[in-house]
Symmetry: C2
Subunit: 321 residues, 2 copies
Amino acid sequence: VRYLEYFTGRRPVRVLADGLQSEHGAWFYHKRNRNVVVETTDDIPEHEDFRWMTLGQIAELLHLDNVVNMDARSVLACLPGGGEPYALHDDVELRSWISSEQARNVVHADRVPCSTVPGWTRGPWSIDHEERRHFSVIAVSVRAGNREVTRWTQPLFEPRERGVIAFLIRSFDGVPHVLAQARVEGGFLGAVELAPTVQALPGNYAGAAAGERPPFLDLVMSADPPPSPVARNPAPSGKARVLYSAVHAEEGGRFFNAESHYLVVETDVVEAPPGFRWVTVAQLSALVQHSHYLNVQARSLLACLNAMAARGGDGVLGLRP
Amino acid sequence: VRYLEYFTGRRPVRVLADGLQSEHGAWFYHKRNRNVVVETTDDIPEHEDFRWMTLGQIAELLHLDNVVNMDARSVLACLPGGGEPYALHDDVELRSWISSEQARNVVHADRVPCSTVPGWTRGPWSIDHEERRHFSVIAVSVRAGNREVTRWTQPLFEPRERGVIAFLIRSFDGVPHVLAQARVEGGFLGAVELAPTVQALPGNYAGAAAGERPPFLDLVMSADPPPSPVARNPAPSGKARVLYSAVHAEEGGRFFNAESHYLVVETDVVEAPPGFRWVTVAQLSALVQHSHYLNVQARSLLACLNAMAARGGDGVLGLRP
């Protein structure tokens, strides 16, 4: 693996971030990857598959669909952030709430034989849900040109449709806060991690009563389009407005056609329902320095929030003061 | 449970510390408890089984054998600590090292039937190791006077002998550092947590060659007795000297006759072997604000280190400057 020596201690570097982070707790059992950022002053040649970029350039690319991959987004989210003078809940309160959610949600996950899982069927090409919900596990044959092994077969995980992943955002005392969710996923090592406000495949809830749909899914899906770059007036009261919108792929080595619509949506909602808390972007950046606080979708959106801030100057683009 | 309302959000309090912490990863599978400290200004009456004490009084009691129980020691360790101006490894380096140890030590623990575990036998009263090492699981009948249920039976976990739990301590640039171990225990949720320098039942290593005994066990067990309170001269070069020594019980609700000899031993050792790092007491206090960084033995010794500091003034008692 190219450049690996900079991450294994074989070359002198300054570590900026280094933690073990979860991935897709609803899809993987206890999967975690080390996310590392190191600073080097070596003169490192660019291999033809690699380019040096500024963080500002990556911030611009993060506003485009399907350019920055999931692992890059996750690692970018782990860069240390700045502090903010105010948060609705201070850091100790925030950790205490996370602990209470972890203590309240006791999860026992044990692996069981595939044949004993109700609602799923095994066909010649795939394992599928009987109602065509959630995802399939499919068998694929891969041919690739730029790898030493140019052909192989493997199972891949195919979600049934494009996901919706969104943070609601609003200011408290002039400081932007996002509405984080304490989310239980069966594959998490610690039962609960912080997730975006909305994280759903909408089709799973087609025809469901309003009370059974994920909180804020409808608000996010009916939000107004982004404001023009010129007129940065706030959204009308009672409405939600899209401040960031891009389609990003989930990891391509394990997933097939796994895309999600990532959104940051301005709102004047104030009340955080049970299982949700308003947190600042700086608090998310501080938590992600440690393992297992932010799920992979929250880390992706944190990278997007930072990209918005890079483009918008000091604050988040268009957010009402 | 008395006073529980102060920890469940039913009474207004200020939370000072709140995290889920592991217990005895070599003895328990994935056990974790919430450790919480809250500040209240309520006028709380003392039940006859409870007394208000100053932290200074508890620090004094921590110098006595078998007075402060394990849960109290663990919770006391979670109190926020002060900062220190210097550490041999800064916080990012320290977390990076912990991540590298967690990535290096992949542990798969699955529960299996008792009858399939080699080396252990089941008798009418207990489950024991064939060579009488490690521990037994025993059946007991309990009678108690101050509980509503005054008689019950339960299994208890009985270690084979008294444990030795010790931190080596020495100053770097005038700041005391302890030698922490990245320790794998089968019951940990995350494979690795920080542990004291030495954590062992010495009898398990009787007759073992020097290279197979736990690092620093012999150094700790042959350390000189504490200096007199008057003459605080440093230990002679090449020697180790006991600065703190007390016998404390492990938790009494699950363990039977489970005592450990807790030690803080001054040394002039400099080199940290693989799997060990010198860390400051302030760094331990910062890490324990989060879940699953310090194992229960390290938390107990952290409470003892704080008790030494409370007694000794600004620094750790007797430590060479």
